[in-house]
């Protein structure tokens, strides 16, 4: 639907020409011109550093991060099939991940005393997950858009509820209750994987296993996307009715998308269960779903390299946030980077940075003069003690920091509406306020910060660059 009094074609043309503005414009234009094929191979070349990661990363923690990144990348790739290519909003995706993990747990742990060989379990898990995906895909024949989203979200909720409660159900053919899922305590003590003669014991082994799976999935998905099926998905995403008329089997393609997405998620889940040597219902809650979505949206839905890039960012950034010192570098780095992107020309950036620094020292001096007992220094003197006399860190004034947070959100929202001089003027105190809230509160609470960040990423990406970092821009006609 277009605005009244404006011409659709003219508007789209303007959108296209305005798209590459700003100093990053030429770079983006060049990037977008490269075309999907060569870009994909460039992406493969970048991925080639993955195998050498463990030789560089010596600590177990880093390997663990690498495993997380790969798990995330696989999940984002699976979700990309359903959301990015087929355009079906599947909010029940984590349930398949959970289902795969629980399937693996049931077939190779002491829960039912079944210890099948891994090379048998994995095909079973994939088939079962794909079957479940087909089942959940069935409603997509009748329900579209929001209704499908909500039905699948309920499916995810039902899955978690079932896993939480199926530990004391008495089936009709038994006298005593049967413990299927272990309830909130989950299923611990899952066997390690053993494929033919290779034993997977350490996290490092799983890293290479995941890497192999990742390579197979990426290449497979690339060819599927280039094939008739991939074109069919995109066609039915853009306009199901028209695609149907062009004899695209829309309904069958929807089911296929659901099944393939579910199969990838299920496979990933089984590796996750083996790495963690246990499965717990809280591993598969909506928060994880939001993270996978954030990864896909950030990277660019519909693009393989985008999904992987998003997953790397989403899985690795929280690890950097863990230590205050690294988190600080990340925060000020991102602040300056976003200044460079938002503010033009660059001469202004220098002005603003100088103004913020002066503003900070002045504010710090004034407050230290009026309420000397409130101000304490930055713990362990961040950034070589430079911050100590710049940013205010107050002692034990939670309410004050809370209000500062609310003001910060308000200031950022107002900033998005302002143009020109007033915007630059408001930017200075806003940056200082952000630093204040960051040093006083967020730096110490990485998990909350992470959530805030992901929520903000989803909103900001949708309003500013809906196709994500690596997605191709589409000017489409909304229905």
């Amino acid at each position: 639907m277009s605005r009244i009094g404006s011409d659709d074609w003219v508007e789209q043309q303007e959108l296209r020409s305005e798209y590459y503005t700003g100093f990053t414009g030429p770079a983006r234009k060049a990037f977008d011109r490269v075309g999907p094929g060569p870009r994909f191979f460039a992406f493969l070349a970048i991925c080639a550093i993955f195998p050498f990661f463990p030789t560089v990363a010596d600590s177990d923690f880093l390997i663990r991060v690498g495993v997380n990144v790969l798990l995330f990348a696989l999940l984002a790739l699976g979700l990309n099939i359903v959301v990015g290519w087929a355009g079906l909003l599947d909010l029940g995706y984590v349930a398949f991940y959970g289902f795969g993990a629980y399937m693996y747990a049931w077939l190779s742990s002491s829960q039912f005393d079944v210890h099948l060989p891994t090379e048998l379990v994995i095909p079973i898990v994939i088939t079962a997950s794909a079957g479940l995906g087909l089942l959940l895909g069935l409603p997509s024949w009748r329900l579209v858009g929001d209704y499908l989203a909500i039905t699948t979200l309920f499916f995810a909720q039902i899955f978690v509820e079932l896993m939480l409660n199926l530990d004391r159900l008495t089936p009709p053919w038994r006298d005593e209750p049967l413990d299927v899922t272990g309830g909130p305590n989950g299923i611990p003590g899952i066997d390690d994987m053993r494929i033919f003669t290779i034993d997977f014991e350490q996290t490092r082994d799983y890293y290479f296993l995941l890497l192999a799976i990742f390579a197979v999935v990426v290449v497979g998905l690339y060819y599927i996307n280039e094939s008739r099926t991939g074109r069919g998905w995109r066609a039915s995403r853009e306009d199901p009715l028209a695609a149907e008329l062009m004899t695209t089997p829309v309904n069958r393609l929807k089911l296929l998308a659901f099944a393939m997405g579910a199969a990838v998620a299920g496979l990933t889940g089984s590796v996750f269960a083996a790495v963690q040597t246990g499965v717990f219902p809280q591993n598969f809650e909506v928060a994880l779903l939001i993270m996978i979505y954030a990864a896909l949206i950030l990277g660019g839905a519909g693009s393989i390299s985008g999904a992987v890039l998003g997953a790397i960012i989403i899985a690795a950034v929280p690890e950097i946030l863990r230590t205050p010192e690294n988190a600080r570098y990340l925060f000020y780095g991102v602040l300056i980077a976003s200044l460079l992107i938002v503010v033009r020309p660059w001469k202004r950036v220098a002005g603003i940075v100088a103004a913020v620094i002066v503003f900070g020292f002045a504010a710090h001096e004034i407050v230290a003069l009026i309420w000397p007992d409130v101000v304490v220094g930055v713990e362990d003197g961040g950034l070589g003690g430079l911050l100590d006399s710049w940013v205010l860190v107050v002692d034990d004034h939670e309410t004050l920091v809370n209000f500062a947070f609310v003001f910060l959100v308000a200031a950022v929202l107002i900033l998005t509406q302002l143009r020109g001089e007033s915007r630059m003027l408001l930017l200075i105190p806003t940056i200082y306020l952000a630093a204040f809230v960051w040093e006083n509160r967020l730096v110490a609470e990485p998990s909350v910060t992470r959530q805030l960040l992901f929520g903000a990423i989803l909103v900001a990406m949708m309003t500013k660059r809906p196709q994500g970092l690596l997605g191709t821009p589409r000017v489409e006609n909304p229905i």
Binding site: G145, I150, Q157, E161, L241, A294, I297, R441, L452, P478
Partner: protein
């Protein structure tokens, strides 16, 4: 069958249903006008509950309120409704309006982001601890605070919730059917472009809709706090899901449908807790939704949608 127990469940169901119906109304109104599923609505409800709590604490707390109980309750409701309404307007302005002409998946993802952001903000601002309204201190449940009808004891709080919900619903129905704003809302939901050509400013109408819907959610939050006493930062998610379920069951975009759906969900929940088991209460509610959606995709009172080519 135990009549006493049955009536008790009925009253519980009606109270819960009132809360769900109020949340459902917000979903339904917004969907009716924008065809947008406002995922952040549950979080607005949660903020409403917290605003009610902070007003209560600021005025002396439940045990020693500095003003009489009746005006205290009125102030709590008004503050929560105003605060939640403004929050709704801000969300609309910044997360949905830039996406007015985007593909439909975009505002939905933006809404999920807003919901996540608000939840994390609540965790940051109010911490993870439960806050309690301590209603029995405010409205005692001994003989003065309840109505006895033979063997039945119905607490005044529940009656207050049910009655004020009915009041709000009547007010909303009158607003939509009798006032100029209501007429404009109906016109915009029917056809936004045509309404704009008739001199209606769709943006203003949409802002008003968001304000009213969110204010109702804020009122629902205070009601939940009064009846179930505990408020916490995660309360919005489940309640939002149930409210949405209610809206869908009744036929989304349809105001009487939202009320009906809320009551159905509330009663189903309380009876399944009372007669089957509390473990599977959520499963039963979600199961009802999936069945209704599959059999009648437009809900009980919704009219079928024509596919536009």
């Amino acid at each position: 069958m135990d009549v006493d127990f049955f009536v008790q469940q009925l009253v519980n169901g009606l109270t819960l249903g009132s809360v769900y119906a109020l949340i459902a109304l917000g979903y339904s109104m917004v969907y009716g006008i924008l065809k947008l599923l406002n995922f952040a609505h549950g979080e607005v409800y949660m903020f409403g509950a917290f605003i009610g709590y902070f007003v209560l604490s600021a005025l002396g707390g439940a045990s020693s309120p500095s003003i009489p109980v009746a005006p205290l309750l009125v102030i709590m409701f008004l503050a929560a409704m105003l605060g939640a309404g403004l929050l709704g307007v801000v969300i609309e302005r910044y997360a949905y309006r830039p996406l007015r002409n985007a593909p439909r998946i975009a505002p939905l993802i933006s809404a999920i982001g807003v919901s996540f952001f608000l939840q994390a903000s609540a965790l940051l601002l109010f911490t993870a601890q439960f806050r309690t309204y301590d209603t029995p201190q405010l409205i005692p449940i001994d003989t003065t605070g309840r109505i006895d009808a033979g063997p039945l004891h119905i607490s005044l709080t529940r009656i207050l919730v049910i009655v004020s919900t009915i009041g709000l619903m009547i007010a909303l129905t009158l607003l939509v059917s009798r006032t100029r704003l209501g007429k404009a809302m109906r016109a915009v939901s029917y056809d936004r472009e045509a309404a704009a050509m008739m001199g209606i400013d769709p943006d203003k109408v949409i802002v008003a809709t968001f304000f009213i819907g969110s204010a109702l959610a804020g009122a629902a939050g205070v009601m939940f706090g009064l009846v179930f006493e505990r408020v916490f930062h995660l309360m919005g998610f489940t309640a939002g899901l149930k409210g949405f379920t209610a809206a869908v069951i009744g036929g989304i975009g349809n105001i009487p449908g939202a009320m009906l759906g809320g009551l159905i969900i509330g009663l189903a929940e309380s009876f399944s807790t009372g007669y089957i088991s509390s473990t599977f209460q959520n499963l039963i509610v979600f199961g009802i939704l999936i069945v209704i959606l599959l059999v009648r995709p437009t809900g009980l009172l919704g009219s079928p949608v024509l596919k536009k080519v």
